[in-house]
């Protein structure tokens, strides 16, 4: 197949390039509007207890959690003043009238409170009030509603208003992240171009990765647009597409261009140089792409649309980038010919070749030293406390963050994050059952208050008078109660309370209790990820081992590759926990540490880092194997392999580090974490793992690197991934070209 592609690129490069030029606008038309088709949500764990509970609350009871919260700060007077109360009722009703609002609650609509009785929706000093609003629909619908509700934040004579709540925070974070990403692209674009010029040593070769990236990104956008017609695809898949698309394009182009130049420097014609490049470097690109694409599909095991989207985008971007690298890029190289530059580097005397020689002189020292550094860096990962994002991902001066800080300081914050215990189908008139449920809940640790159809029940034994408001907790379809924790929503004791509630025996015969609410939803997300993570990692490991075995014919080298990838990524995630969970360097990097790490962001990072890391590994292994196959000399193969690909790998890493560092300037903490983490990942992988650990371990293993049981060796020889080198006859000197046919065989 590759020889046919090489012939196509050489003989018909103009047609291939013309086809590519036609295809780009087509892809732009189909994929250009992708963002409109994608979802801002996709975080909900489908079928989880909290998701089912939320659905019942919204559909059956017209209630739910406070997705959007307006904090009204009075200019003068108190919440309970008549004039303010009248305006408050009007305001609450106006908000509730929005078609996207399920329920709007405020102090003024809860009913009468005694002068000494504290209302949960009134500040401790009585000068601020909140309107807690439940929004209908999925995250996309909620985001649109939140946008409409912005009109209620206009200041009036009586108050100033600010919004917060999960929907608003997510909207603000998304908008801020988009602005920051645009800014980071403005910073990164010129720097990357300068670096590309330096690395590729010339303007023409420097634009090659951009050409491949255009295909990779637009092609993937088109695939995602089509997929979005049949399933939920997260808008965050676009970040993966652009990050991985640019990264892989740079990697593939560096590898192919370096090989093409090498072949030209050997005195080969452009046609033969293309043939060799496609059948060696092109083959490597395909193997690497196959490994990464197949591995990323492991994310389909997660029942979360957000993570599944990374599988779609990851596999698509890798496959499109690979295709562009073996079809369009060779045509471009054929067109450019020697204008791309003819450079030969003697692998053994190149900087990375000498580095490899230094390492293989004392392999154990290097292996132990670098492995220790990586293990120590990875240790904080053991303390990972995964959670979901809250307002603290936003910069301290963001309006939603300011409003949430106000809630924390002026109100009893936990009131806004109540837990719902839903009994769908329970008899609403079953007072005994309700009493039993309430008393069982009050017996649990960490319960501050229980709101039920029959009143408010406090841990202290006090009982609040029922109001009209309490009727929201029941209708003909069943009953539900709201449980207020004694602790903040992200406190481990609230998590303990959720688990205790889920262990409760239902007092309603045959009726299941569903525990929901923001903390329960976070727990379901974290549990869903953590419980399926081993399966996903196992699939990734098995696919990697399989493809690397088919590529190398060894059972040792693939295991080494997986172990090194794990070591490299663990060190990265260890550093992330140390910085973003523990708060080290928070002043320098300007973010607020929450003591937890968002559970989804590391998975997105893992996908990109794993893809790039596996790319580097395949580049190195492929060249080392090629040298070993020809010479049978392990040491020579290591030095030659690292000497000829070391520059490619490190240059690719530096180029990507520029892009990721620009992303790290974002004011949104998770985006900053993404940028910082990936910068660490590519630098650690290229400079520490591939340049030191790989040669050290391969030297120590010696010929055992290539060991496999005899049946497997023969299997690999017969069915493994091989590509025969192109063999061409000498060009006729002073005689006309004679008819010649080179025939490939077929099975």
């Amino acid at each position: 197949m590759l020889s046919a592609l090489a012939r196509l690129a050489s003989s018909h490069h103009r047609r291939v390039l013309l086809g590519a030029l036609v295809l780009v606008p087509v892809l732009a038309i189909f994929g250009g509007g992708v963002e409109e088709e994608l979802s801002v949500g996709g975080f909900v764990v489908g079928g989880s207890e909290s998701a089912r509970g939320d659905e019942v609350l919204e559909d059956v009871f017209g209630a739910g959690t406070a997705d959007w919260v307006a904090v009204l700060s009075l200019r003068d007077g108190f919440v309970r003043d008549d004039e303010i109360a009248a305006a408050g009722v009007e305001y609450t009703e106006a908000v509730a009238a929005d078609p996207g609002v399920t329920e709007a609650l405020s102090h003024w609509t809860l009913g009468e409170f005694l002068p000494n009785e504290r209302s949960p929706l009134e500040s401790l000093d009585g000068r601020h009030a909140v309107v807690a609003v439940s929004l209908a629909g999925d995250e996309d619908v909620q985001r649109a509603t939140a946008e409409r509700l912005e009109e209620f934040l206009e200041p009036t004579d009586l108050w100033t208003a600010a919004a917060t709540g999960p929907s608003e925070i997510s909207r603000q974070a998304r908008e801020r992240a988009e602005r920051d990403l645009q800014r980071s692209e403005l910073i990164a674009a010129p720097l990357t171009l300068i670096a590309l010029l330096a690395v590729f040593r010339g303007l023409r070769p420097a634009v090659l990765p951009l050409a491949v990236a255009v295909f990779a990104v637009l092609g993937t956008f088109t695939v995602l647009t089509l997929l979005a017609q049949v399933t939920t695809v997260s808008v965050f898949a676009l970040n993966l597409t652009t990050g991985l698309g640019l990264g892989l394009s740079i990697d593939y182009c560096l590898l192919m261009v370096a090989r093409f130049r090498e072949e030209l420097a050997r005195g080969r014609t452009v046609e033969r140089a293309i043939a060799h490049t496609v059948q060696t470097a092109g083959r490597t690109v395909l193997y690497s792409g196959a490994t990464v694409a197949a591995s990323l599909t492991a994310l389909l095991v997660f029942p979360v649309a957000y993570l599944r989207s990374f599988a779609y985008a990851g596999a698509a971007v890798v496959l499109v980038a690979c295709s562009a690298a073996v079809v369009v890029l060779p045509a471009l190289l054929s067109w450019l010919g020697e204008r791309v530059g003819v450079r030969a580097t003697e692998p053994a005397t190149s900087f990375w070749g000498r580095q490899a020689q230094r390492v293989i002189r004392r392999p154990a020292w290097w292996a132990i030293g670098v492995a220790l550094v990586l293990i120590v860096a990875g240790l904080p990962f053991l303390r990972l406390d995964a959670s979901r994002i809250d307002d603290r991902v936003l910069p301290a001066d963001n309006p939603a963050r300011v409003a949430t800080d106000q809630l924390r300081e002026e109100f009893a914050f936990r009131n806004f994050n109540g837990l719902g215990v839903v009994a769908l189908g329970a008899d609403p008139a079953d007072e005994d059952g309700l009493r039993e449920l309430t008393s069982r809940i009050l017996e649990l640790d960490h319960v501050s208050r229980v709101d039920t159809p029959t009143g408010f029940y406090y841990e202290s034994g006090l009982t609040g008078t029922p109001r009209a408001f309490n009727e929201r907790f029941r209708n003909d379809a069943g009953v539900w109660v709201q449980v207020i924790s004694s602790w903040e929503p992200d406190d481990p004791r609230t998590e303990e309370l959720v688990r205790s509630l889920r262990d409760l025996e239902s007092p309603f015969p045959g009726i299941e209790l569903l525990v929901t609410g923001a903390p329960a939803s976070v727990m379901d997300s974290v549990d869903a990820v953590q419980s399926r993570l081993p399966a996903a990692l196992l699939i990734i490991a098995v696919i990697t081992l399989l493809v690397l075995f088919l590529m190398t014919g060894s059972v040792v080298v693939p295991f080494k590759a997986v172990v090194l990838n794990v070591l490299s990524l663990t060190a990265t995630f260890g550093a992330l926990v140390w910085v973003f969970q523990d708060g080290n360097l928070s002043g320098l990097l300007d973010f607020t540490a929450t003591g937890q790490v968002d559970v989804f962001t590391p998975i997105l990072m893992f996908c990109i880092a794993f893809g790039l890391s596996m790319d580097y590994e395949v580049f190195l292994l492929s060249r080392i194997k090629e040298e070993y196959d020809i010479t049978g000399d392990n040491d020579h193969a290591i030095v030659a392999g690292i000497g000829s690909t070391g520059r490619v790998v490190t240059a690719a890493a530096v180029l990507l580090a520029i892009v990721f560092l620009a992303i790290a300037t974002s004011g949104v903490a998770v985006v900053k974490m993404f940028g910082v983490g990936l910068t660490i990942a590519v630098i650690v992988d290229a400079f520490l793992v591939r340049a030191t650990l790989t040669p050290a371990l391969m030297k120590m293993a010696g010929r055992a690197n290539w060991w496999a049981p005899r049946p497997l060796r023969r299997f690999h020889l017969r069915w493994g991934l091989w590509e025969n080198e192109p063999v061409a006859l000498p060009e006729p000197a002073d005689e006309p070209e004679l008819a010649r046919t080179t025939t490939e065989t077929e099975d």
């Binding site: 196959d629 049978g632 080198e725 063999v727 000498p730 004679l738 008819a739 025939t743 065989t745």
Partner: protein, 141 residues
């Protein structure tokens, strides 16, 4: 186009692969390309780098060193192995004298198969020894 099965059956009659099992030949066929060369066309040229081993499946070729024909090759003969075993420029030019079909094994796979399929190495050594004994000129190419 020859199928792999056809190549295996044609390789069975080649001296170099005489000691190989059927399973070995399937592996060799997996990594072999066939090539048709018109009569009069050069196959390898003296002074070029060696990058493949050629086996004559049909047709004929002459071996010329410094303008003098030193050997004639026919079906079953192979050439080019010395430049792979001991990397050095081709020592002779081989030209097809009639329409010739060749099986070609690139340098990488030649070395891999030499290590993995001992019967090929053993035959190669035996042939080399025989040629040394007979002519003192181990390999015309």
């Amino acid at each position: 186009m020859a199928t792999k099965k056809e190549i295996v059956s044609r390789l069975e009659g080649i001296r170099l692969f005489a000691r190989c099992s059927k399973s070995d030949l399937k592996i060799v066929a997996r990594h072999t390309e066939t090539m048709r060369v018109d009569g009069g066309r050069q196959i390898v040229r003296q002074g070029d780098d060696g990058d493949a081993l050629f086996v004559v499946l049909s047709g004929s070729a002459t071996v010329d060193r410094d303008g003098t024909t030193v050997a004639t090759l026919g079906p079953g003969d192979y050439f080019g192995e010395l430049a792979l075993l001991d990397p050095a420029p081709r020592a002779a030019t081989v030209t097809a004298t009639s329409d010739t079909e060749l099986a070609v094994l690139g340098v990488r796979m030649f070395n891999v198969l030499l290590r993995e399929l001992p019967p090929i190495g053993a035959r190669l050594l035996a042939d080399l020894a025989s040629r040394v004994r007979e002519s003192g000129s181990p390999d015309p190419t």
